[in-house]
């Protein structure tokens, strides 16, 4: 079982600065929990490209294509009506429907992708058991660190204290 050390801070700047120093001291930054997005946290938890926007694009285009397909097929082959001498496939007049539902399609795909990638809904997680976690949705910033393999838990804790951290707790 991995044992983690959790340090808490009162400001976003402090947590980032400490995370950088801890990383230099060979701790592994596992995650940062915060009451609002901390700019710059991406460098610790993988700030690379995400597929979310690609999913949204694909979802949006697929729904829009389906909508246009229904229009074109029903108006040209399933039940063609000549109305005011306009062409059967009046594409400019057919645009609003695919456009609006396509945007909703992108939003919905994005929402599903967001849930899958963030692992939600998940009503329980080990971090919830951590004492003081409830403050991270309010006003505290938690930094979860994995100590270097060479150190014992006590040493690792002592080292963090020397680096100026207070309020260090173990988490399994």
């Amino acid at each position: 079982m991995t044992r983690l050390l959790v340090v808490d801070f009162g400001e976003p700047g402090a947590v980032l600065e400490f995370a950088r120093r801890a990383r230099k001291a060979h701790y592994e930054v596992i995650d940062i929990y915060s009451p609002f997005p901390v700019e710059g946290a991406g460098e610790f938890v993988g700030g690379g490209p995400t597929a979310l926007r690609v999913h949204m694009f694909i979802g949006g285009v697929a729904v829009a294509a389906l909508a246009y397909g229904v229009e074109a097929w029903s108006a040209t082959s399933n039940y063609p009506i000549i109305s005011g001498g306009r062409p059967l496939d009046s594409w400019p007049a057919f645009m609003p429907f695919p456009f609006t539902v396509g945007i909703f399609g992108a939003a919905l795909t994005g929402f599903i992708s967001l849930l899958i990638q963030t692992g939600l809904p998940r009503l329980h997680h080990p971090i919830f058991a951590h004492e003081g976690f409830e403050r991270t949705t309010q006003d505290r910033f938690l930094l979860a660190l994995k100590p270097p393999a060479a150190m014992t838990q006590a040493e690792a804790k002592k080292r963090l204290e020397d680096m100026g951290a207070s309020n260090i707790r173990d988490m399994e």
Binding site: Y33, P35, V38, V45, F94
Partner: protein, 458 residues
């Protein structure tokens, strides 16, 4: 030389006032009405709730009477077929537009002050767009067949007429409402998590816990949340613009004098933003007073919203001028005759009142004192809303009362049932809003905290 940096600007120029300057106070200010109800006197809320319940009852009665008797109970006649219903629809959808427009556009423009107002503007959107959607259905004459607008395999082997503006409308509103629900709900997830963690009773903990979906606020989740939120904002702006443009096309795609104008789609979008901002101001004043949020919704917010209304007022005035100019310059006798009818015809009083409310009143905002008086801003905002309602009324009535064939000219006289449905819909809106106030945070807690953190850095 004035080299005073922003950092030592006086406290009252900040978005979050000193009494709200810690993460905990912000959280407490917004969550207390939801979690510690006994700390609050709900008297004003109860009075408003009963009043809106009565109005909603009136709406139910008038809608039932309408369904039982048909649209003949309204003042509509063979000439003015749209009457109140479509004007109310456009008015409500305009207000419904503004929430997402404000929220998404200000997000993309990195206007961080939006944190204090975006949440209740988004909620306003949901309810206003939902109510707007009721009017065309009630106006159908045979409302039970409204689902014929959807494409589904049926025994008649028929499909919707895709070239019809009515179909565009249906999909635009439907997509917009669903989109707005997602945008609003995703923004609420971190706040529900906050309420879950603050709740003391088991009941509210499980309720908010379920709504929060297990949100942990980890860096990875925040990052994805942020990307999704920004992308939604990028999609939201064109969706909103297309929605009200489609509403404008309901008119512009016709061949009627005064409607068949290429300016209609953008002119409707600006009108929507105008009336929507005015409604947001009214709600902001109410929420600020009702929930004692003076520290979070500051005078500066009213000031900046007043400036936006002033700008929108100028664009509206320019649109009216363009309409008159185009009618004169185009030289079409019917168009010219319509403009004459607007100024001199049966509805001239409404038209002058509309011009006064939409073009003149907002000019008060050139004065800093007017922008910084909440009472003045609210009064102007209410007048703007009345003006925008009159605008939709005069667009519908003038054209229909004065089209090509003089033998068909008729005047619209609203009946009791026209008024009762309209005021009833205001009651329904208030009822939904008051209910929401007790179920979800009315201001975005995490975004306001973020705003505070940005202010602390400067």
């Amino acid at each position: 030389m004035n080299d005073t940096p922003r950092s030592i600007a006086s406290q009252d120029e900040r978005w979050v006032l000193p009494q709200g300057r810690s993460y905990e106070t912000i959280t407490d200010l917004v969550s207390a009405p939801l979690l510690e109800r006994q700390r609050w006197s709900w008297r004003a809320w109860r009075i408003a709730f009963v009043a809106s319940l009565l109005l909603t009852g009136l709406m139910l009665v008038s809608a039932s009477w309408l369904l039982a008797q048909g649209i003949g109970v309204w003042g509509v006649n063979t000439t003015v077929v749209w009457g109140f219903a479509i004007a109310n629809y456009v008015w409500w959808i305009g207000i419904g537009n503004a929430g997402t427009l404000i929220s998404a556009m200000l997000l993309l423009m990195r206007q961080h002050w939006r944190a204090s107002i975006n949440r209740f503007a988004e909620a306003m959107t949901l309810f206003a767009a939902g109510i707007a959607g009721l009017f065309p259905i009630l106006h159908l004459g045979r409302p039970l067949y409204f689902y014929w607008l959807t494409p589904y395999p049926n025994t008649m082997a028929l499909w919707p007429q895709w070239r019809s503006a009515l179909i565009w409308d249906f999909w635009a509103i439907l997509s917009y409402i669903l989109f707005s629900i997602l945008f609003w709900y995703v923004g609420l997830i971190p706040d529900f998590a906050c309420l879950r963690d603050r709740a003391r009773s088991e009941k509210s903990r499980s309720r908010f816990g379920a709504l929060a979906l297990g949100w942990r606020g980890s860096a990875r989740q925040w990052r994805l949340y942020h990307i999704y939120h920004m992308t939604m904002a990028c999609l939201g702006v064109p969706l909103v613009v297309s929605l009200h443009s489609v509403v404008g096309l309901d008119f512009a795609a016709s061949l009627m004098p005064g409607w068949s104008e290429t300016i209609f789609p953008p002119y409707f979008v600006v009108g929507a933003m105008y009336s929507g901002f005015a409604m947001v101001v009214v709600l902001a004043a109410a929420v600020r007073w009702g929930f004692r949020l003076q520290a979070i919704i500051t005078i500066d917010h009213f000031d900046v919203m007043a400036k936006i209304m002033l700008a929108a007022s100028m664009i509206m005035s320019a649109s009216y001028l363009t309409e008159w100019f185009a009618a004169w310059y185009g030289g079409d006798p019917n168009e010219r005759s319509l403009v004459r009818f607007e100024f001199l015809g049966d509805y001239r009083v409404l038209y002058y009142l509309m011009l006064f409310c939409n073009c003149v009143v907002a000019q008060a905002f050139w004065a800093r004192a007017a922008r910084r008086s909440i009472l003045a801003v609210v009064i102007v905002a209410i007048l703007i809303n009345i003006g925008m309602w009159l605008e939709r009324i005069t667009i519908v009535w003038n054209t229909l009362s004065h089209d090509y064939a003089a033998s068909m000219w008729r005047v619209f006289h609203p009946t009791f049932w026209d008024y009762s449905l309209m005021f009833g819909s205001l009651g329904l809106f208030a009822l939904l809003y008051l209910t929401l106030c007790r179920m979800a945070p009315i201001v975005s807690i995490h975004e306001t905290r973020h705003l505070l953190s940005l202010e602390k850095q400067t």
